[in-house]
């Protein structure tokens, strides 16, 4: 399955990809079914999901003797965002294009089709989701559509594979179709040496492509878009007949985006996830694997073997099989703890994605997200951050402005725990009790919201408005979901395991050489004094530099009171992101800014951890044991209120400035 499939991060131009000169590209709107079709044709896996922006990594594979490339979903061939630039550049280089079109959305999808035709590309239309179209009672005159467009049109169902053989056969008949007349008229405006696809983009004002040909971008975008839209509407009117009919998905969709019952449903789902992952998987499965299997059978076996080979007293034994043994702790942790937790989280995330629920959450929370300078769409990378922060930082590219990408990246690095970490944290909190869990959640959420409010106030600009396509709600497809869970879990483990091993090695060496004890001594004022934790907690922070979840594991081996657990976990949650995320952070945001974010995370972590410890102590002194958390709760409320007031003040000043320079009104 994997030998045929390569994947790279397509940054900048798609032309940089090492593709053969005559590849075939899949093109289509987001959620048209490109990835699923790609999988059918090549037998390779490409991520299949339901929110705009999944296919940020370009995937390609062998399809018989051809090379097939999956492109990011776009609504048109231009450069409104990085995805569109990548798709544009790949399509400009393709020999033939399979345009995947959602049969239930022709009015929208045919705009891209017509634009591909106007660009003079040789295309064949894969009319996908015919099963849904039939279920809705839509009737499409396929031959008529093919005649109108002037290219082959093949109805298919990518989910079942229906029609895919006929599509394969039709690809050889891919042809340039019938362009919009207005385009032909304008093409005379440019030197004939410029290839047709590039010429179209220059006419439509694409500055980058114009620059490549030493031309000025032309001002005809509005005119050509309008003409194309008109032509598409005409075609749809002639070939599609649709009954208006509401499905269960439509009705449920409306409930999900209303504050009521949308918010309670969201809260309920979060609670269910916590129950299933935290108590089900973390509580029982992890216990079974970690203690039952790994610590009872595996570790003694390894210790015995290593002991015989190098002698039980040697430093090498302690590095390989001691407390932080590379062969004992790493393996126990990866197999016994991380594997079940990460797989469980990815399963939940994959289900959420495949149903189309994520864009609904984005709509539901748009108003709230506005308070921290983001629009609802930014919730998508933040939720994905709960799977893997590294991946989520890359996904921030789907956000439309630099300001939003920056804000979301800060928040991801600071206050969004990844699945492994969240799993370990959930495990420890489940032991400490519901009160501790709520307090921990409150503290982390407070930091998230306050940081968001402050950053929003500090960074110039406004949240760009939401403009989000809502795909239909669907029942998740079990095969997709399992496949995706598996691929992501595997990816996570292959990325994380060497880091764990490295961390264990470093710790083992530090321990054997006595440096660890010394470090614990140096850090005692911080750990014991400021955070009120045992001085061994320093070990966990050293581990936390490698991976935050690793740090959380470090905490799990210490006897902590519930209050200490909250302090320790809040600190380690806010602590620096893992090495892999740090690298992506530096790459996406540049060295200086990345380093700044990183340092800010360390400072915030210790600051907040200490505040939690001291406020709980103060609470205990004033209100007694039962009332201990209330001072912390009050502190959280005060922090959010303060941050909100500050951001409000800044916003007022900005509004004042705007009134002086009047806003562009509706008319």
């Amino acid at each position: 399955m994997s030998q045929c499939c390569h994947s790279v991060h397509a940054r900048g131009t798609g032309g940089a990809l090492p593709l053969p000169p005559d590849f075939i590209a899949l093109a289509g709107n987001p959620n048209a079914g490109k990835s699923l079709l790609f999988q059918r044709l090549t037998g390779a896996y490409a991520e299949v999901s339901n929110y705009p922006g999944t296919t940020l990594e370009i995937t390609w594979g062998r399809w018989g003797s051809e090379t097939l490339v999956d492109t990011p979903g776009v609504y048109g061939l231009s450069s409104f965002n990085p995805e569109e630039q990548v798709a544009r550049d790949i399509l400009l280089g393709a020999r033939r294009v399979i345009n995947v079109v959602n049969a239930t959305h022709l009015e929208r999808d045919l705009f891209l089709t017509q634009q591909l035709i106007d660009a003079g590309l040789a295309i064949v239309v894969a009319l996908n989701m015919m099963d849904e179209a039939e279920a809705l009672g839509l009737r499409i005159d396929v031959e008529g559509l093919s005649r109108e467009l002037g290219v082959p049109v093949v109805p298919i169902v990518a989910r079942t594979g229906r029609g895919v053989d006929r599509l394969a056969e039709a690809v050889s008949r891919a042809a340039p179709g019938r362009p919009t007349p207005a385009v032909i008229r304008r093409l005379g405006d440019l030197p004939p040496a410029i290839p047709r696809p590039e010429a179209l983009l220059i006419l439509e004002g694409d500055p980058e492509v114009a620059g490549r040909w030493g031309e000025e971008p032309r001002p005809f975008r509005d005119e050509l878009y309008r003409a194309r839209r008109e032509r598409v509407e005409g075609i749809c009117a002639r070939v599609v007949s649709l009954p208006a009919q509401e499905t269960w998905g439509d009705r449920l969709s409306r409930l999900l985006i209303r504050p009521f019952p949308g918010l309670p449903i969201l809260a309920g789902l979060l609670w269910l996830t916590y129950k299933a992952v935290g108590e089900g998987v973390a509580g029982s499965l992890v216990g079974l694997l970690e203690e039952g299997l790994m610590q009872r059978y595996y570790e003694p076996l390894v210790r015995d073997l290593v002991g015989r080979l190098v002698g039980e007293e040697s430093p090498l034994f302690r590095v390989l099989a001691g407390e932080f043994g590379v062969l004992t702790m790493t393996v126990t942790y990866v197999v016994g703890v991380i594997l079940p937790l990460v797989a469980a989280f990815y399963l939940v995330l994959s289900i959420l994605e495949d149903t189309g629920y994520l864009p609904r959450i984005a709509t539901l929370l748009d108003r709230v997200m506005g308070a921290i300078g983001l629009n609802g769409k930014a919730i998508i990378p933040l939720i994905l951050g709960l799977g893997c922060v590294t991946m989520a930082v890359i996904t921030t590219r789907m956000l439309s402005s630099e300001r939003e990408r920056r804000l979301a990246t800060y928040l991801l690095a600071l206050a969004v725990p990844c699945s492994a970490q969240l799993g370990v944290v959930t495990l420890l909190l489940a032991r400490a009790g519901v009160g501790s869990t709520l307090l921990y959640a409150l503290v982390v959420l407070t930091v998230f919201v306050s940081a968001g409010l402050l950053l929003d106030a500090l960074l110039p600009g406004e949240a760009p408005p939401l403009f989000l396509d809502l795909p239909p709600l669907r029942l998740p497809e079990p095969r997709n979901v399992l496949l995706k869970t598996w691929v992501r879990t595997r990816h996570f483990l292959t990325e994380a395991t060497p880091l764990f091993a490295l961390g264990a090695l470093v710790l083992g060496v530090l321990e054997v050489t006595g440096i660890l004890t010394a470090v614990q001594g140096w850090l005692a004022p911080l750990t014991e004094g400021w955070l009120g934790l045992p001085r061994e907690a320093a070990t966990a922070f050293v581990m936390g530099f490698v991976r935050r979840d690793f740090g959380a594991v470090g905490m799990s081996t210490m006897p902590l009171t519930p209050a200490q657990t909250v302090t320790a976990l809040a600190t380690i949650t806010l602590f620096v992101p893992c090495i892999a995320s740090t690298l992506v952070l530096l790459k996406e945001r540049g060295r200086a800014e990345g380093a700044l974010i990183w340092l800010a995370a360390v400072a915030t972590a210790f600051l907040v951890g200490g505040l939690v410890h001291h406020s709980v102590r103060l609470g205990g002194a004033i209100l007694g044991a039962a009332g201990a958390p209330w001072v912390t709760v009050l502190g959280c409320a005060a922090a959010v209120a303060g941050a909100a007031a500050l951001s409000q003040a800044v916003r007022h000043r900005r509004l004042g400035a705007m009134e002086r320079a009047p806003e562009e009104a509706a008319d």
Partner: protein
């Protein structure tokens, strides 16, 4: 009136989208100037969900304030 003032269940024709970028994005999605859309859900203080046939787009409030519409029914 603007899109932000319309109510759930109403049908409006989009007259003018002042913002040039969103004007083109809307045109591509088939909900550009001149199209009739149904207001499927107006979230209080939040986005407005417009629908045309099976196409649904959530339009943020600040953008909706800059979209002029005409009540159809």
């Amino acid at each position: 009136m603007t899109l932000a003032e319309a109510r759930t269940g109403e049908k409006v024709r989009i007259e003018r989208i002042a913002d040039p970028e969103f004007r083109l994005l809307a045109l591509r999605m088939g909900i550009g100037e001149g199209e009739e859309v149904a207001l499927e859900e107006v979230i209080p203080g939040g986005p407005i969900l417009v629908r045309r046939q099976r196409q649904r787009v959530a339009v943020g409030r600040s953008l909706a304030r800059r979209i002029r519409v005409h009540l159809v029914r």
